[in-house]
């Protein structure tokens, strides 16, 4: 019987060596270790042995069984490895092929610019206020201390719906609405559409966007205006830009100023964007004229405030170097998708 065991082991070795597939190996396993397998049968026939012989033979048979099981396991393992290898070889892909197209949409560049400006001012505690595009003459002009003969009121400058209703020429009417509706402290920005009677060309658009701001509180000074807008400019255009406040005139503020920033493209040495001057005009601002505060019944002795306003298209054109304002309203996808 010992010889039988030897033969089985020898046979198993030979067969496993020849086996080249998992199925063949499995067949060998069944032939040896299955219910009717040769080793199983030998073990079953052990009953006919004497107890001392049984013990010794059982030991030998179990060791052969363990050896065969070990061989089988190794065989299966190496065959599986081989199989995986083949699969990987067959499944090789060209990883340099392009990825499957996934496409987010893109915000309109005007919206992107408004969002950026808004984010900066919101970080400084300004809330967003909005108002209608069609406004009263009172809110758009009278309440803002614009004289009855101011040329901006002309039919050639402003679109009218009736004698007392117009398309707002600025978002300042939102300031008026807020001053009337709210007690100080007031700290708002108002982004939105505005309209002026300009025929569209590369630098003019009858519809455009503004962001205006207003801060009314006790103890607001012109130094606060400078600090707020200087911080805004640095956050929007980069910490290196410098600001310059030049005296100017607006009916609704006094003192009034225009703010220039040092050119954020060339750093102030002069380039195409700043037209060689090193400075770029960005916004108008000033201390709110007492006549405007009075419209909101605000105590002008107790409260002071500053206001500012900027053209969104202008800022977008400067930032993105867009040379024709009409592109914003043509909505060619090849233009809009550049702002991803």
């Amino acid at each position: 019987m010992q010889d039988q065991l030897k033969n089985i082991l020898q046979e198993a070795k030979e067969q496993l060596l020849k086996a080249s597939s998992i199925a063949e190996t499995e067949e060998i396993r069944v032939k040896l270790l299955g219910k009717k397998g040769s080793l199983t049968e030998i073990l079953r026939s052990m009953g006919s042995l004497k107890p001392e012989e049984r013990k010794e033979f059982g030991k030998a048979a179990n060791s052969v069984r363990a050896e065969i099981e070990g061989m089988l396991e190794n065989k299966f393992k190496s065959l599986k490895e081989l199989q995986k290898k083949e699969r990987f070889a067959a499944e090789k892909i060209d990883v340099t092929e392009p990825g499957a197209k996934i496409s987010l949409g893109v915000k309109h560049p005007i919206s992107i610019t408004i969002d950026e400006i808004s984010r900066v001012f919101m970080s400084m505690g300004f809330s967003i206020a909005e108002g209608p595009e069609v406004e009263t003459v009172f809110n758009n002009f009278d309440a803002l201390n614009v004289g009855p003969n101011h040329p901006s009121r002309d039919f050639t400058d402003t679109f009218y719906i009736s004698e007392s209703i117009l398309l707002r020429t600025q978002t300042s009417p939102v300031q008026v609405r807020t001053l009337v509706a709210q007690e100080p402290p007031i700290k708002i920005i108002s982004p939105g559409r505005c309209f002026r009677s300009d025929t569209a060309d590369a630098t003019h658009s009858p519809m455009f966007h503004q962001v205006e701001g207003l801060n009314v509180d006790e103890g607001i000074t012109m130094a606060d205006l400078k600090g707020t807008l200087d911080s805004f400019a640095k956050q929007l255009f980069g910490s290196k830009v410098k600001t310059k406040f030049r005296p100017h005139f607006f009916p609704f503020t006094e003192p009034s100023a225009e703010m220039d920033v040092s050119c954020f493209k060339c750093g102030g040495t002069g380039c195409k964007v700043c037209k060689g001057g090193g400075w770029i005009e960005i916004l108008g601002c000033g201390m709110v004229h007492p006549n405007v505060l009075k419209v909101g019944n605000i105590d002008t002795e107790k409260y002071t405030g500053f206001a500012f306003g900027m053209g969104v298209e202008r800022i977008a054109m400067l930032k993105y170097e867009v040379d024709d304002i009409r592109l914003f309203y043509e909505n060619d996808m090849r233009f809009i998708e550049q702002f991803k």
């Binding site: 987010l104 949409g105 893109v106 915000k107 309109h108 005007i110 919206s111 919101m122 505690g125 809330s127 967003i128 909005e130 209608p132 595009e133 069609v134 009263t136 003969n149 101011h150 040329p151 039919f155 050639t156 679109f159 009218y160 719906i161 009736s162 007392s164 209703i165 398309l167 700290k187 559409r193 009677s197 025929t199 009858p206 519809m207 006790e218 103890g219 000074t221 012109m222 130094a223 606060d224 400078k226 600090g227 707020t228 200087d230 310059k244 406040f245 030049r246 005296p247 100017h248 005139f249 003192p255 201390m287 007492p290 002071t304 309203y329 043509e330 909505n331 996808m333 090849r334 809009i336």
Partner: protein, 799 residues
């Protein structure tokens, strides 16, 4: 406002580098449009004298000249100009010489005759056409007198000049003059200001013997000064005067006209001169015109006047439209010998409305409109006389006829030191503030915190305390103000509407749609184009009274036409796949009340075309949008009568009884109108209504603890049955064990009879408190199947 520095120097010395001067002026409030340095790009152009002129042998229109430039040999130059004469002094460009605009002149042959240079016109030496002296228009520049031959022309006639173009804000009409700018320059540079000489050395007679002046409308005419000059000789002005006018942007005409223009530029006071021969009865009457009166202005145009317009009359008739333009009947002529110099102050609003009504805007009218100090009238009239005397252009008659009913007095304002400091965030003393005011020629008295300040009457813009605060700010220097951050602490916020709009925008972008922005004003035809012009709500436009054109004449009532225009434009530009959206306002008349503001409603439009797009991809976006806005249970009601859309592929979007919008495939005829030759899909939501129903709060629901049992069913049903009805039936017939119903397939074709479709669902059953047993589900599921069969004739198919 063009200011030649050389002219400015007459009143205050600008002794500093021009760039520094400009920067300081900008920072003190006189913004600068441009700085022109003239005469710098002229090279090798010299003074020459024409000694001989011959006809060109081969060309009728050309002349051959011999020019003496102070050298041994004469220079031969061929020219086409016909205003030259022998003996004339002219500018000559020599071979290799340079003219403005980088023009290089070389010698050559003109129709066979040698030409060794070029004679120049005023324009060729760098002046604009519109300022070229009348006498020299379209001709060679004949110099006014003898200059050393061969001398560099730039040096000889002083062509090198710096002209600063100041931007004058509407509150500072006083700066529209050389003296006004000199006043600003003196205050800025802390230099001395000197006023021009207005006294004549020799005067004769008495003006009162020549003219009588009466103001009948004192509310429209504050002052009228008349002076008389006799023995007038009309001729060319000297070059120095012409040059100043040209640099300041005015065309020299003749000595008298030039002097009136010169004084207007100097003081900002318009001056008019009449030929006194034409003034009937030696009388000037300031009155209004008759309604319908026709008057011929000196440009030869007949103007129809009305009774609101100020008219300067003599004893019999109108002679000038006050402050706008003189009359043809009394203008200065070549043989004029005695003139009346008018220096008057008219009401700005009156002049503005006259000028507007006549459609006639002149240098004078635009100045009167902005407001002029009436105290200037006499100085300006005297200055005219002084210059006439200086130029030897006439004999000045003694005295002025000055009618000045109510003298404009200087006006005092009280200003507080602490208020100035509080507004500007600085800490100046009363004394320091006083000094700043004094730099601006103001009278100041200081008492503790109170400053009484009296500006010159020329500064009509200074009325209230805040006006003076601005004066201190700009004199102190905006750049010297500290930089601080407001102390108040406020929370930033945005409205629910703004938050939802921003959210919707982000959702649309995440789903791959690009945002567009289109005009709020549109053509009324847009509504026709999308086939809904019979919809009364959409054609009740808010109309613009003065639109840029019909195509921008009404406020939009829907966004769809704008979207289709954009889709069409992109299609025509071969952008083969587009998915776009816009969130914007629509405008609707407020019923009954034309004087109240229109309703503005937020709208959201989505449009798409291209490979892979269909009704259901668009609907899918919409469903995802609604879910993200917390809106559930929207229903799609088929709509076959909305003109913009395909009658079989359009639905109204309903939330219970509220219509949120409409979705569909664009009707092929409509797409055709916009040049879109492919299927395109659009949807427009009443976004204000969507916002009303949006829910932004989110609450957690526990995850299921017990397993679910699912059943896949395929149902054979008539084509006409809407799947929404099937789902509704399933939900209504199931118990609360039904957790979800998901449609996973609709099949038509083999094994499905004509007119039927097979609709397959996965039904998921689950109890929240226990593991379901098969028997429970069988019962509920059978009820569902029975209801489907009974109500919709839907039969379970063997799969």
């Amino acid at each position: 406002m063009l200011v030649p520095i050389e002219w400015l120097n007459e009143y205050t010395q600008i002794n500093t580098d021009i760039d520094i001067f400009c920067e300081k002026m900008i920072m003190s409030g006189s913004n600068i449009e441009s700085v022109k340095r003239l005469g710098e790009d002229i090279e090798n152009v010299v003074v020459g004298q024409i000694v001989d002129i011959e006809k060109h042998p081969n060309a009728d229109k050309l002349l051959v000249t011999q020019i003496d430039i102070g050298e041994d040999a004469l220079i031969q130059v061929v020219t086409g100009a016909d205003n030259i004469f022998e003996g004339a002094y002219v500018p000559v460009v020599l071979h290799g010489g340079k003219l403005p605009g980088n023009k290089v002149i070389k010698k050559g042959r003109l129709r066979g005759v040698e030409s060794n240079g070029m004679l120049c016109s005023v324009e060729e030496l760098g002046f604009e056409d519109k300022v070229a002296p009348v006498a020299l228009k379209n001709g060679i520049w004949i110099l006014d007198k003898e200059y050393p031959l061969g001398m560099d022309i730039v040096e000889a006639i002083g062509l090198k000049s710096t002209v600063v173009d100041f931007e004058i804000t509407p509150n500072r009409p006083d700066c529209l003059s050389m003296i006004g700018m000199a006043r600003e320059a003196a205050a800025t540079m802390e230099s001395k200001l000197e006023y021009p000489d207005t006294t004549c050395l020799k005067e004769e007679g008495n003006a009162k013997d020549y003219i009588d002046i009466e103001i009948l409308k004192p509310e429209l005419c504050n002052r009228y000064v008349g002076r008389i000059v006799t023995n007038v000789k009309i001729e060319q002005s000297p070059w120095w005067l012409q040059k100043r006018l040209m640099y300041a942007g005015m065309r020299p005409i003749n000595n008298i006209v030039d002097i009136t223009n010169y004084v207007m530029l100097e003081y900002g006071q318009p001056i008019h001169a009449f030929d006194i021969r034409d003034i009937e009865d030696n009388k000037i009457i300031v009155d209004t015109a008759e309604d319908g009166e026709v008057f011929t202005t000196l440009d030869g145009t007949d103007r129809k006047l009305n009774s609101n317009m100020l008219l300067i009359k003599d004893g019999k008739r109108g002679v000038a439209i006050a402050g706008v333009m003189g009359g043809l009947n009394s203008e200065i002529k070549d043989d004029t010998t005695t003139i009346l110099v008018e220096s008057a102050n008219f009401n700005g609003d009156s002049i503005r409305s006259t000028s507007k009504n006549l459609g006639l805007r002149t240098e004078a009218s635009s100045r009167f409109e902005k407001g002029i100090d009436p105290n200037l009238c006499l100085y300006a009239a005297d200055r005219v006389c002084r210059l006439i005397e200086l130029l030897g252009a006439g004999t000045v008659i003694k005295g002025a006829v000055d009618v000045y009913p109510v003298k404009q007095e200087a006006h005092s304002t009280t200003v507080r030191v602490d208020r100035i400091n509080a507004v500007l965030g600085i800490n100046l003393t009363g004394e320091e503030i006083k000094k700043y005011f004094e730099r601006l020629e103001m009278n100041v008295s200081l008492e503790g915190n109170i400053i009484k300040v009296t500006p010159p009457t020329i500064r009509q813009d200074l009325r209230e305390e805040v006006d003076f605060i601005e004066e201190i700010a700009r004199m102190y220097g905006y750049d010297n103000l500290p930089v601080t951050i407001p102390k108040g602490n406020t929370e930033a916020g945005k409205s629910r509407e703004r938050t939802l709009k921003d959210l919707a925008r982000d959702i649309m972008i995440a789903m791959g749609a690009n945002e567009i922005q289109t005009y709020s004003f549109v053509s009324p035809k847009g509504v026709d184009n999308v086939g809904i012009s019979n919809d009364s709500q959409e054609i009740d436009f808010v109309r613009i009274l003065n639109p840029l054109g019909e195509e921008y004449s009404v406020m939009r009532t829907i966004l769809l036409p704008n979207m289709l225009e954009v889709l069409g434009r992109n299609y025509s530009r071969n952008n083969n796949k587009v998915k776009a959206f816009e969130i914007g306002n629509t405008f609707h008349n407020n019923k009954g009340d034309k004087e109240s503001l229109p309703d503005e409603r937020e709208s959201l439009v989505i449009g798409c075309y291209g490979e892979g797009e269909n009704f259901f991809t668009l609907k899918g976006m919409l469903e995802e949008l609604f879910v993200n806005l917390g809106i559930y249970n929207t229903e799609y009601k088929p709509e076959s009568n909305y003109g913009a859309y395909h009658p079989g592929r359009c639905a109204r979007i309903m939330l219970k009884d509220t219509e949120l919008g409409i979705i569909g495939e664009i009707h092929p005829d409509i797409a055709d109108k916009y040049g879109i030759e492919t299927r395109c899909y659009c949807c427009e939501l009443a976004f204000d209504k969507v916002m009303n129903h949006a829910v932004t709060e989110r609450f957690y629901k526990p995850l299921p603890k017990y397993p679910a049992i699912t059943r896949d069913i395929a149902l054979l049903v008539d084509e006409e049955v809407y799947v929404s009805e099937m789902e509704k039936t399933i939900w209504e017939s199931a118990s609360n064990l039904l957790e979800s119903v998901e449609l996973f397939d609709i099949y038509r074709g083999k094994q499905v009879p004509q007119g039927k479709k097979s609709v397959a669902y996965t039904l998921t059953y689950r109890a929240s408190d226990r593991t379901l047993i098969e028997e429970e589900v069988v019962k509920v599921h059978q009820k569902v199947l029975d209801a489907l069969k009974e109500k919709l004739g839907a039969v379970l198919r063997d799969v």
